[in-house]
């Protein structure tokens, strides 16, 4: 089998004697999107910084595109682009100047710099703002510019650290599209997120990290399956809640509802619930992901009472 594009084994890092990563194992294959999912302080950024050679691990190994982050840092840097949690663009330069600088640093042939920069600005819908200094950009525009800079070098691996935190829904959707185009073009993506729905929507595989340890690793479906099956949830007139197992298909839901009628249950409200990644996270870590503001109704279909 082809060598993984990203592979970490037993990655450890401590700050001031306090372990932040405590043996992180990750594997990402070519063309995959891996979501590193975890709450604030779980160790996502530390993992990302080790992979992008900004921080040396205390123990374990990390390889990117086959190169060791410690001994072959220069090759790793050439293979990977990092878009950090905060946009790292030059406020005093224009969008165009930022992208052209990135093109020069990516050793794009001199005569293609202009063209390549214009292309990237267009791709990220920044053509109209290209001549303005970044200081005048909105948060969403900065993120897009940051991503344009990252993708300009056509990296083997794109690393995104909480790319949509603080973005409005439209910018988030646009970013998801970009990730999908990168993967369609053969790229590999590692993204960190606190949003379960983001991992669900984008990732081929999800690694759940909590307190520096990967507590689960699999497809979103596998994680959800590990937590339990779908069920019909009934809110009864007497205030009780009843859950009846189903495989979630139309026929089976009809069977369950038939049973409800036969038993003469007095239902005020009912819905089919499939376990969400929220449920998975709660089950895996014993606490929620700290995303109370996000809708839990991702995989839920609600019905009015009949």
């Amino acid at each position: 089998m082809e060598e993984p594009v990203i592979e970490t084994r037993g990655l450890r890092k401590a700050y001031g004697g306090r372990p932040v990563l405590d043996g992180v194992d990750l594997t990402v294959r070519r063309g995959q999107v891996l979501a590193l999912l975890g709450p604030n302080g779980a160790g996502k950024t530390t993992t990302v910084r080790i992979l992008s050679t900004l921080v040396a691990p205390d123990g374990g190994t990390a390889r990117v595109a086959g190169f060791d982050v410690r001994t072959e840092a220069a090759r790793v840097r050439a293979a990977l682009s990092l878009t950090g949690q905060y946009a790292a663009v030059d406020e005093l330069l224009t969008g165009e100047e930022n992208v052209r600088l990135a093109a020069r640093l990516a050793h794009v042939p001199r005569r293609q710099v202009r063209e390549r920069a214009a292309e990237m600005l267009a791709l990220f819908d920044l053509t109209d703002a290209a001549r303005r200094t970044v200081r005048t950009y909105s948060g969403g525009m900065r993120r897009r510019l940051d991503l344009a800079v990252s993708l300009l070098s056509r990296p083997q691996v794109l690393v995104l650290d909480e790319p949509t935190t603080g973005l409005d829904p439209r910018s988030r959707a646009a970013l998801w599209d970009v990730v999908r185009s990168v993967v369609a073009a053969g790229g590999t993506v590692l993204l960190t997120t606190q949003y379960l729905e983001e991992a669900d929507a984008l990732a081929d595989r999800v690694a759940v990290i909590d307190r520096g340890v990967v507590v689960a690793d699999g497809t979103a479906a596998e994680l959800k399956a590990a937590v339990g099956s779908a069920h019909v949830e009934l809110a009864l007139a007497d205030g009780r809640t009843e859950r009846l197992a189903t495989d979630g298909t139309v026929g089976d839901v009809r069977r369950v509802l038939g049973e409800v009628e036969r038993r003469g249950l007095d239902v005020v409200h009912w819905q089919v619930r499939t376990p969400t990644l929220d449920d998975a996270f709660l089950a895996l870590t014993g606490h929620d992901a700290g995303t109370a503001d996000r809708t839990p109704a991702l995989a839920t279909t609600a019905q009015e009472p009949r």
Binding site: S52, A185, G186
Partner: protein, 266 residues
């Protein structure tokens, strides 16, 4: 979406010395551009010394006896002060790069370590060349009367370049340790303050005891003495060598400190 090529390219070979030179040049271009975008800072760095020059010449100058026209005496002081301002802004540039993620971006790219800093230093040299030329031009207009040969001018420029390089690297180190641009800007007052307690503005013999000792030890003293001697065609004695030795030493220490501070991984 559009037809932009996002296909990953094969990992390029490790960058060679030519790549490193090109990257550094690109980052110099960036820093110079940044300087032109901070017009307020740039103007202040030029206008303030000019205002000080005029003040010292027309307001205080009459009251300070130096054994020569005060304008001739004070020009080296103003030139050194100008260089201080020009160098000090480097600390702010470096600190803001460190805190807003730009440095991390460059460090995660196959760009030579420290090329970002080199970019800021070269930009500082360029800024100082412009502001020094302007200040000298104004000085000539208000009666500065140099008696320097071409060789003297060159030697003076050489001393000034080493001085600016040393102060700029000190500013870089300050920018690297400071918690942010504001803090960096606060620290640079040391750089700006140095010329005042030296022979730059008044002969050290006129100072009270303790200050006189400080002024004699201050490396700005041999530097302003050297510049004054060179520009006015007077014997330089050992001043040029002493000044060069001082600033070369500071330069090496600040350069090494910056490299260490820059490399420390957090």
């Amino acid at each position: 979406m559009s037809t932009v090529d996002l296909t990953p390219r094969p990992v390029p070979p490790p960058p060679g010395p030519l790549d490193a030179a090109r990257d550094t040049l690109a980052l110099v271009g960036r820093s110079v551009r940044r300087s032109t975008r901070q017009l307020d800072t740039l103007l202040l760095a030029v206008l303030l010394p000019v205002v000080l020059l005029l003040m010292f010449v027309y307001v205080f100058g009459g009251a300070i006896s130096t054994g020569m026209e005060y304008v001739d005496f004070v020009v080296p002081a103003i030139v050194l002060l100008t260089a201080g301002y020009g160098a000090a802004t480097t600390a702010v540039d470096v600190a803001s790069d460190m805190t807003n993620g730009i440095v991390d971006r460059f460090r995660s790219m196959p760009v030579p370590a420290g090329a970002v800093l080199t970019g800021h230093v070269v930009a500082s040299l360029a800024r100082n060349a412009v502001s020094t030329a302007l200040v000298v031009a104004v000085a000539l207009l208000v009666g500065f009367d140099p008696a320097a040969s071409a060789g003297d001018w060159l030697a003076a420029a050489g001393v000034l370049v080493v001085y600016v390089l040393a102060l700029t690297w000190v500013a870089v180190a300050i920018g690297l340790v400071a918690s942010g641009p504001e803090a960096a800007s606060g620290f640079t007052f040391v750089i700006l303050f140095l010329p005042y307690v030296s022979s730059a503005f008044v002969p050290v013999g006129t100072m009270p005891g303790v200050l006189e000792t400080v002024a004699r030890l201050n490396p700005v003293t041999p530097t302003s003495d050297a510049l004054r001697a060179l520009l006015l065609g007077m014997p330089v004695g050992s001043t040029v060598l002493v000044a060069l030795a001082w600033w070369a030493g500071v330069l090496v220490v600040a350069r090494v400190a910056s490299a260490v501070l820059f490399r420390r991984q957090r």
